[in-house]
Symmetry: C2
C-alpha cells in the first residue's frame, strides 16, 4: 500500500520556514510583495487569486490584487504592468490566466519584468531555467514537484521518470529539471501522439501525469512500486458534495494505491505545493531585488 505524499503537510512545513525568512527581511525594512493582476470577473479565477494573496498575507508578505474590467485594452493592461515593474515595493507580478481573447497573453507575459516574473512564464526565465541558471524563476508546479521529491527522500538519479503530457508550464520544464546534473534522471516525455502509452508508463520508476483527463492512468498501466505524481485537476459531478462536484486527478487513485510505493492525492498533493512555490519565488524575488535596491 503506497504511502500518501501529503502536499498540504509539506506546504505547512515549508511556509513555516519561509515565514522566518520573511520576518528577517522585514527586520531589514523589506516586506516581500506580490501583485496579482486579474482581468474580468471569472469566479474560478477570483477564487485562485484570493487564495494566492491570502497565502502571501499569512506569511507576513504583502498580497495585492488589481482587478481590471473584462474589456480593458492591451495598452491599459501594459500601463498597469509598467507601473508594477517600476514599483520597488512590488517584488513579484502575476497576471492570472486565462485572459480574455482580445488580450495577447504571450505579449502580456513578456511585458512583466523577468526579475519579477514569479510564475516563471517569461521566455527569459524559461531560458535561464533551461540552462540551469540559479537566477531563473522556475514555474511553480514543476518546482513544487521537485521540492516534494526532495523532501520526501525519493531519489531520481538513475531512475526512469516517465512524464505524460508536454505542457510548457508543467511537463517540459519538469523534464528539463529532472534530466539536469544533480537530479540525473532518465526522462521519457509522452503525449497524445505516443502510441501504446502503457508500454511507456509501465517502465516508469516515477510516473508524472499532467494531462487533465480523469482515469487516464489505470492500474494495468503501472509497475509495482512505482512513485506516482498526479498533477491532474478534474471536476466530476458529486451530488453528495455541497458544491455539487469534487476534484479528482488523472490517475485511478483507488486502484493504483495498492500497487504503488508512493502517490500524491488529489486534492492535497501537488496543488498546495504549487501555491507554496509561488510564495517561494516571491521571496526569492524580494531577496534578489535587495542588491539593486541598495545600489539605488
Amino acid at each position: 500500500m503506497a504511502r500518501t505524499l501529503d502536499g498540504t503537510e509539506l506546504s505547512r512545513v515549508m511556509r513555516a520556514e519561509m515565514a522566518q525568512d520573511v520576518a528577517a527581511l522585514q527586520a531589514a525594512g523589506v516586506t516581500p510583495g506580490l501583485s496579482v493582476v486579474l482581468v474580468g470577473n471569472n469566479p474560478a479565477s477570483q477564487a485562485y487569486v484570493a487564495s494566492k494573496t491570502r497565502a502571501c498575507e499569512a506569511l507576513g508578505m504583502r498580497g495585492q490584487t488589481l482587478t481590471l474590467p473584462e474589456d480593458v485594452s492591451k495598452e491599459e493592461l501594459f500601463a498597469v504592468i509598467d507601473r508594477l515593474n517600476a514599483d520597488p515595493a512590488v517584488h513579484g507580478i502575476l497576471v492570472q490566466l486565462p485572459l480574455p481573447a482580445h488580450l495577447p497573453y504571450k505579449a502580456v507575459l513578456e511585458h512583466i519584468h523577468p526579475a519579477k516574473d514569479v510564475d516563471g512564464f517569461h521566455p527569459v526565465n524559461a531560458g535561464l531555467a533551461f540552462v540551469g541558471d540559479p537566477r531563473a524563476f522556475v514555474p511553480c508546479t514543476p518546482a513544487g514537484i521537485m521540492e516534494m521529491l526532495r523532501r520526501e527522500g525519493i531519489p531520481t538519479r538513475g531512475r526512469h521518470v516517465v512524464i505524460v503530457g508536454r505542457s510548457l508550464i508543467v511537463s517540459k520544464p519538469l523534464a528539463s529539471l529532472l534530466m539536469a546534473p544533480g537530479p540525473d534522471a532518465t526522462v521519457t516525455l509522452t503525449h497524445r501522439h505516443t502510441p501504446d502509452l502503457a508500454s511507456f508508463t509501465r517502465q516508469a520508476d516515477i510516473l508524472i501525469v499532467a494531462v487533465g483527463k480523469q482515469n487516464l492512468i489505470t492500474a494495468d498501466m503501472v509497475k509495482p512500486g512505482v512513485v506516482v505524481i498526479d498533477v491532474g485537476q478534474n471536476r466530476v459531478p458529486d451530488e453528495g458534495s455541497p458544491r455539487g462536484y469534487r476534484m479528482v486527478g488523472d490517475v485511478d487513485f483507488d486502484a493504483i494505491q495498492p500497487i504503488a510505493s508512493a502517490i500524491t492525492p488529489v486534492p492535497g498533493g501537488v496543488g498546495p505545493m504549487t501555491i507554496t512555490m509561488l510564495l517561494a519565488n516571491t521571496l526569492q524575488a524580494a531577496k534578489q531585488a535587495q542588491p539593486r535596491t541598495a545600489q539605488g
Copy 2:
C-alpha cells in the same frame, strides 16, 4: 543495408537555396554579415573559424574574423562585442569556444545581443526555442538534425526518439524540438547516470548519439530498422592518413549499417549540416533586422 544520410549533399542543396535569398537581399541593398570573434591562436579553433567565414563568403555573405590576443581582458572583449552589437552591417555574432579560462564564457555569450546570437546560446534564445517562438535562433547542430530528418522524409510523429547525452547545445534543445507539436515524437533522454543504456537504445525508432565516445553504441544495442544520427566527432590515430588521424563518431558504423534503415556517416553527416544552419541563422538574422533598419 542502411541508406547513408549525406549531410554534405543536403548542405549543397540548402546552400544553393540560400544563395538565392542572399542575392535577393543584396538586390535590396543588404549583405548578410557574420562576425566571428576568435580569442587566442588555438589551431583547431582557427580552422573552424576559417571554415565558417569561408562558407559565408561562398554564399555571397560577409564573413569577418576578429582575432583577439589570448590575454585579452573581459572588458576589452565586451567592448568588441558592444561594437558588433551596435553595427547594423553585422547581423550575426559568434564567439568561438572554448575561451581561455580567465574569460567567463557564460557572461560573454550573454553579452551578445539576442537578435544577433546566431549560435543560439543566449538564454533568451534558449527560452524562445523552449516555448516554440519562431523568433528563436536554434543552436546549429539540433537545427541541422531537424532539417536533415525533414528533408530525408524521416517521420518523427509517434516515433520513439532516444537521445544519448544531455548537453545544452545539442541534446536538450533537440529533445525540446522533437517533442513539440509538429514533430510530435516521444522522446527519451539518457546520459551517464542511465543504468542499462542498451535497454533504452534498443527501443529507439530514431537513435541520436551526442556524447563524444568512440564505439559507445554497438550493434547489439539497436533494433533492426533504426534510424541512427551520430553527432560524435572523435579523433582516432591513423598512420595511413596524411594528418595522422581520422574522425569517427560515437556509433560502430560498420557493424550497425547492415541493421539500420538509415545512418549518418562521420565525417559527412551531421557536421556539414551544423555549419549550414549557422549560415541559415545568419540569413534569418539579416531578414529579421530589416524592419528595424527601415524604422531607423
